[in-house]
């Protein structure tokens, strides 16, 4: 899709459309907390699918977690998977419909804890799918418990005194981990809490779907996101905290391309 340049005068003119919600997002009210990154991430994925013109040949897989209801918002064929099993479900779909586009949309608890095995083995087989991995360092849906990606010292309802590395282990860097696998064509870490990051994240998602089109293997796009409710911060503070704490440990950029 081409976007023509709109002058500032035109923008303020009544009736000028400067932004349009993609048809591939439904009109349902998002169930996410105000300030949450899921809404933007959903939109980016669906915009890419719309712009590539593949909405009628795409099947998405929703996880267990905050985005369990992703199918209420993503206006394509969707399957809801058991906790952690989205890459296996996606494998099943892709193997019987190799010509269609299949993606999973998973959180850190889903992908990096209970679904570690499914993630690693789907990547290791080089399943020709896209994995969108939302990493906000916490279990949002169940009420702010410790995730495999919770930072050292970070408080959660199951690490109320902060994550203790000697007893609770290290926050896991799944994208780096699977980037080592030859089946993975593209592994990247992005963010969506500011406009400059959003633009880059969209490009990464597009590249991931293009890889699927070009039969390149697994593409994983991690999006470091916030959880102001779970982190018990205002949306603004959460984004600041993300920048200052999450990004140093989970640095942005391509890990494998």
């Amino acid at each position: 899709m081409t976007t023509s340049v709109i002058t500032p005068e035109e923008i303020i003119k009544k009736g000028t459309v400067v932004f349009k919600k993609t048809e591939l997002m439904t009109n349902n009210t998002l169930s996410y907390c105000p300030g949450c990154g899921h809404g933007v991430a959903h939109r980016l994925v669906m915009e890419v699918i719309e712009e590539m013109g593949i909405g009628e040949e795409t099947i998405g897989v929703a996880p267990v977690g905050c985005s369990v209801l992703a199918y209420d918002f993503m206006n394509v064929d969707m399957q809801q998977a058991a906790h952690g099993r989205a890459p296996a479900v996606a494998t099943g779909i892709k193997r019987v419909y190799p010509e269609k586009y299949v993606f999973t949309y998973q959180g850190d608890g889903d992908l990096a804890a209970i679904g570690t095995s499914e993630t690693i083995h789907a990547c290791n087989r080089g399943e020709n799918i896209v994995i969108i991995f939302i990493n906000n360092g916490i279990y949002g849906m169940t009420g702010g418990q410790m995730a495999p990606t919770t930072l050292a010292g970070m408080k959660s309802s199951t690490s109320p005194y902060g994550r203790s590395i000697p007893t609770m282990g290290y926050p896991i860097k799944m994208t780096e981990l699977v980037a080592h696998l030859p089946g993975v064509a593209y592994a990247t870490r992005q963010a969506v809490h500011e406009a400059k990051y959003v633009r880059k994240a969209k490009k990464a998602i597009q590249k991931a779907f293009e890889n699927q089109r070009d039969l390149k293997g697994t593409s994983i796009v991690e999006i470091v996101s916030n959880c102001n409710s779970g982190w018990k911060m205002t949306p603004v503070d959460a984004n600041k905290w993300l920048e200052e704490n999450m990004l140093p440990y989970f640095p942005l950029g391509d890990i494998k391309k």
Binding site: E56, Q80, V96, Y97
Partner: protein, 366 residues
């Protein structure tokens, strides 16, 4: 021309899967059913029919691959043995809740835990009473011959799609491993996408071309709606109970004592009937072919003529509960079973039958 072969039960089932026009098999090795995936890998069905065969990283992954492929409207199946089926139960519950048609094969071994690799029938409860979480039912077929291992694949897929419900073939290590003559079915062509829609409607997730999007899910956070979904499931199960009961009666017409047995237990019991009749004991055998729905009406009817029943099972007594529920107190029901991979001999079962008959007669005299 008839295609007759001498095959293992597991191999016959695998060959029948290709011939049934199955689209995908996802599995993980476990004794005593590994021949299913070994046979499929050797046969390369991707060249014969285009069927996909994939060795998953775990039983969990395998059943969820089935979920994905079944949710895409395809004929998908998996097979395992007892400990592996336990792992699959989460996925099976999701499949039942999402109303996806698929075929699950359990070639049972002795349990609990890692148990043994020898045959058993100790997963009866797990198969017919649900197994995983929530109110759901599997349609359960119990083969007792290698021929039925082959025949039940196509039947299983047909029933699964007829009701959009998972179907289980509940076999055991003896039937899976034994070699018998088998008449192999003709090759059925795999359905095209158009045929799938024409035959079963367009509920599957295949990409929303020319229609509204489809969603496969077992989740509904609104209890009022979710109860409706559960009521719908129960209505479907009732329809299955009304229409899909299958059983075989062997010498039941004049029998005054009935053995109820399935799978390997039924093979042994058939010999018991033969031996008993030679001694002048009028034993009959009722063999449930569907364990769920259970053939309760015929058992209740037989209770009008029989002085007693015996449930012969390779377990501690599981199906006996359903036999008792069917007999409804009309006659005494006893159980004979071996556990831990032991297979009862016909003579030891006959001895138990004779003892039971003597007991019943003694009680009747009092």
């Amino acid at each position: 021309m008839e295609d007759v072969k001498l095959m293992k039960g597991n191999e016959a089932l695998a060959e029948a899967a290709i011939r049934a026009g199955a689209d995908a098999y996802f599995g993980y090795p476990i004794t005593p059913q590994s021949e299913v995936i070994e046979y499929l890998m050797l046969e390369r069905p991707e060249h014969r029919t285009g069927m996909v065969v994939l060795q998953a990283e775990s039983e969990l992954a395998a059943i969820n691959m089935v979920y994905g492929a079944a949710g895409a409207g395809k004929r998908a199946m998996t097979s395992s043995s007892s400990p592996g089926i336990s792992l699959k139960l989460e996925g099976i519950s999701y499949i039942a809740g999402s109303e996806l048609p698929c075929l699950i094969v359990n070639v049972q071994r002795g349990g609990p835990g890692l148990g043994t690799i020898q045959p058993a029938q100790a997963d009866y409860f797990q198969a017919v009473k649900g197994g995983g979480h929530g109110d759901y039912r599997l349609l359960v077929l119990a083969p007792s011959t290698v021929q039925e291992m082959a025949d039940f694949v196509s039947l299983g897929f047909d029933l699964a799609f007829k009701y959009r419900n998972p179907v289980m073939i509940l076999s055991d290590g003896a039937i899976g491993q034994m070699m018998e003559k088998v008449y192999l079915p003709d090759q059925i062509e795999r359905l095209t996408d158009e045929q799938i829609v024409e035959k079963y409607g367009s509920w599957a997730t295949t990409g929303k071309k020319n229609r509204e999007r489809n969603i496969i899910t077992s989740l509904d956070l609104k209890p009022e709606r979710h109860e409706k979904h559960n009521i719908h499931l129960q209505e479907k199960y009732k329809k299955i109970e009304e229409n899909e009961v299958r059983f075989e009666t062997i010498q039941c017409d004049d029998a005054d004592y009935i053995i109820v047995a399935f799978g390997s237990g039924a093979r042994i019991s058939q010999k018991v009937v033969e031996l008993g009749r030679k001694k002048g004991i009028k034993i009959g055998l009722l063999r449930p072919i569907t364990l769920w729905p259970f053939p309760k009406d015929i058992i209740n009817k037989l209770a009008d003529q029989a002085i007693g029943f015996m449930s012969v099972e390779m377990n501690a007594g599981q199906m006996i509960e359903d036999v008792e529920l069917s007999v409804k107190g009309k006659a005494p029901v006893s159980h004979y079973g071996r556990m831990g991979g032991m297979i009862p001999t016909p003579s030891e079962v006959l001895e138990a039958v004779e003892k039971d008959i003597a007991n019943i007669k003694k009680l009747q005299e009092v």
